[in-house]
């Protein structure tokens, strides 16, 4: 399926976050960094295999994308993914404009939109009623923002993010299934592993 598309949120298939996280991670062959946001987002990232280039945000909502932006600015030759839930990114919508303005070629934001604050009891978020995060991202200047229509389209969008200049944003509607694991809650260890994971030559040398 072509990545040039314009699916609406309503047309996007409801997929599974654990499955999509694994599909994303399986494509990472060049020590790409992945910053997982609070909520079930980082749990599924953890469950997908604890790559040294993964960072798990335990406490603050909406900061995965800004942290990933900092990583992208510091290591412009390493591709960086931010994974964030809809509830979390709703707290930090200005980050879309910041990323669009800084325009790092090596950053891709992935939004898992389950229409809920799943981890706190699945209360509805604003995306369950009126808010379309792709529309907001585009209006903030992130032109390469797409709803993933289905699993194949999601994979094609990830491939495009890996091979083309960003910034990109991929939004996927996901179900309310439990995540596949639980992140270890040791912030010091998470930071050290991540810093070691980013200290390899790859971030400096990839073109």
């Amino acid at each position: 399926m072509s990545t040039i598309s314009n699916f609406s949120r309503d047309e996007a298939r409801i997929m599974n976050r654990s499955d999509l996280t694994r599909r994303l991670v399986a494509k990472l062959k060049s020590e790409e960094a992945v910053v997982g946001g609070i909520g079930h987002t980082n749990w599924d990232l953890w469950a997908s295999g604890q790559r040294p280039q993964n960072f798990y945000m335990l406490g603050s909502m909406g900061l995965a994308a800004p942290i990933a932006l900092g990583v992208a600015v510091a290591q412009p030759h390493r591709k960086v993914f931010a994974l964030e839930g809809d509830g979390s990114i709703l707290m930090q919508l200005g980050a879309f404009g910041t990323i669009a303005t800084v325009a790092p070629k090596n950053l891709c934001v992935v939004i898992w939109d389950n229409g809920a604050y799943h981890i706190t009891g699945a209360q509805q978020t604003l995306t369950a009623t009126t808010v379309d995060l792709v529309a907001i991202a585009r209006a903030s200047g992130l032109k390469a923002s797409e709803w993933a229509a289905d699993e194949d389209h999601f994979e094609a969008l990830v491939d495009a993010a890996l091979s083309e200049d960003g910034p990109q944003l991929i939004a996927a509607r996901v179900d309310h299934h439990k995540p596949a694991g639980t992140t270890d809650r040791d912030p010091g260890k998470i930071r050290l592993n991540f810093m070691r994971g980013l200290s390899g030559a790859d971030g400096k040398e990839r073109t």
Binding site: L63, P66, G70, V71, A74, Q75, A95, T98, I190
Partner: protein, 174 residues
């Protein structure tokens, strides 16, 4: 101390000390007191300067850059700091990130807005509760020593630091 002892305005000293410490990423939400400093940083190609929408973003960008090997600093006003306790307590302090904050102190010594004065009173209790090293610079002659020492200690001890710019430095005639 007379003005001719300091041909260099305080903001130029700060820029020089940032450079000397290899701090080349600056994020900020503006304040009038910081205007000359911000302009000087924008004018200097050594620095990457980012003005996001919120102070939380500014903090997170510098935190991410630090983990990827680049040194940064965040500039803000006291009211900006007041938006940060959650990000500091849930990210910067537990993850032991040497975040250096430069905070222009608004709300004391001639404040005309009651709200600003009250917001300012929340700053030191938050810094103290979180155990964040902090120091206000009041004297022109202290700028280089304090900024340099706070930055070096933050990175050496893996701990955040708040450099507070008092109106005694930024508003008083030196």
């Amino acid at each position: 101390m007379t003005s001719k002892d300091y041909d260099e305005p305080w903001h130029e000293t700060v820029v020089r000390v940032l450079r000397a410490n290899g701090v080349d990423l600056v994020t900020y939400i503006p304040d009038n007191v910081l205007r000359d400093l911000i302009q000087a940083l924008h004018d200097d190609p050594y620095f990457t300067v980012i003005c996001p929408a919120r102070e939380e973003e500014a903090v997170a960008i510098v935190a991410g850059a630090y983990m990827a090997g680049r040194r940064g600093v965040v500039l803000m006003q006291t009211s900006g700091f007041a938006t940060l306790p959650n990000a500091l307590a849930s990210m910067i302090v537990p993850f032991q990130i040497p975040l250096v904050m430069v905070i222009s102190e608004r709300g004391v010594l001639g404040e005309f807005q009651l709200g600003q004065a009250i917001v300012c009173r929340t700053m030191r209790p938050v810094l103290e509760t979180l155990g964040i090293e902090h120091r206000a610079i009041e004297e022109r002659s202290h700028v280089e020593f304090v900024v340099n020492g706070m930055i070096q200690q933050a990175f050496a001890t893996q701990s955040p630091a708040a450099i507070i710019l008092s109106p005694l430095l930024t508003k008083r005639q030196h």
